[in-house]
Amino acid sequence: MELLSANPGAAVFAGATDLIPQIQGGRPEPSLVVDLKRIPETSRIEAHNGVWRVGAAIPAAVLTAHAGLSTTFPGLVEAAGLIGSDQIQGRATLGGNLCNASPAADSVPPLVALGADAIIVGPGGERSAPVSEVVIGPGATSLDQAEFITGFRIPSPSQGSSDAYERFIPRTEMDIAVVGSAARIRVDGDGRCEEASVVLAAVAPTVVEVGAASGILAGRVIPTDSARDPFWDELGEAVVSCCNPIDDKRGTAEFRRRVAQVLARRTVVTAARRARETL
């Protein structure tokens, strides 16, 4: 931390999968790079009293191979398993994925949907903040220069609750999400939705939560296939109203609005199926 305070041009890295290409692409070389992985707590996975603590500098490949995480947070783990190739997953981390502050980061929507907090360490000690408040715009975070994230606190899902993540890319691998959607669903004993969270990536300057989703889905029996039901149109409208997408090299705004609806529906269906399976 002293290093970071003393070096305004310093960069913290874990997997460096974004930092090195940025330097290659002309970003001025940092005055100092700090390898977070050397701080032990950034590499730990623990569960205590219904809360998981997942280190910020753990490569995605380690997360996807972790049996406990995979059963508890299948959506988060499938998002980690979508970040780049196997090679990239050997390096890329949740902390880096968040702090790079791309609106298209795959692991951020599930963290937000799960209600995760970032554990932030800085000169003033440790604090925590909801993941949804860390990124404030493309490439910008609310962290101070001398702060960094050591890990995430993720509440264990209650019985009848699960999550899912899906993204759209033009290829099957190696692309940045054109649209991403995470869903967390809690169902009651009859399989009826009690609570839902839907969070979208790459449709706005930051990931966005579809605030109306829970209200629309509560009380519904989510079908096992994504067949047409009127409430899907309602969800679709809610999704579109949250989207503020752009036209860019990866897709058009119109495409993003349409596909966001599709992915929201698909992830809700998957999360609900998984939620019922926990009962």
Binding site: Q24, E29, K37, S85, Q87, I88, R91, M174
Partner: protein, 165 residues
């Protein structure tokens, strides 16, 4: 510029080198150690030509800083053959014509080895996803995928393979 002294294990041998802070492991291998088998296709982690195995984990060496490998173990294409004996993947790539120009081949072999180390009997789909981080522009991947599947079957049935050869 001051250079960092780094000690690590490369293909089983203890080595050390000096590098700059921002020098990538790829540059260390090629420019400092003369290990030119690991190739640079993009420098941004998008082609897999520079794949190496770092402490058992498949990575792009262009996305690793040299000083990071202090105390760690690196496997490259140069360490794949066991003395005079090619790795079954190298044999199957040769016999299955799994390359044309050959520049992506070291990266594919290293990625395929990491895949088979983890999953000795992959399906075709698992092979395709397992090497999806490696670009080949010559082959259309057909013969690469077949050769990896062939190597997997050789490795899981070494006896059959020995008789066949």
């Amino acid at each position: 510029m001051s250079r960092t002294h780094v000690t690590c294990v490369l293909n089983g041998d203890p080595i050390d080198f000096l590098c700059n802070d921002y020098q990538t492991l790829l540059s260390v291998l090629r420019d400092e150690l003369g290990m030119i088998g690991t190739k640079e296709g993009c420098g941004t982690g998008d082609c897999g030509a520079c794949s190496v195995i770092l402490d058992g984990q498949l990575v792009c060496s262009c996305l690793v800083f040299g000083p990071e490998v202090e105390g760690r173990s690196i496997e490259t294409i140069e360490g794949m053959a066991d003395g005079q004996h090619l790795h079954p993947l190298q044999e199957s790539f040769l016999e299955g014509a799994a390359f044309q120009c050959g520049v992506c081949t070291p990266g594919f072999l290293v990625a395929a080895k990491a895949l088979l180390d983890r999953n000795p009997t992959p399906t075709e789909t698992e092979v395709r996803y397992g090497v999806a981080g490696n670009l080949c522009r010559c082959t259309g991947y057909d013969k690469i995928v077949r050769s990896i599947l062939d190597a997997a079957s050789r490795m899981s049935n070494p006896q059959t393979h020995k008789e066949a050869t």
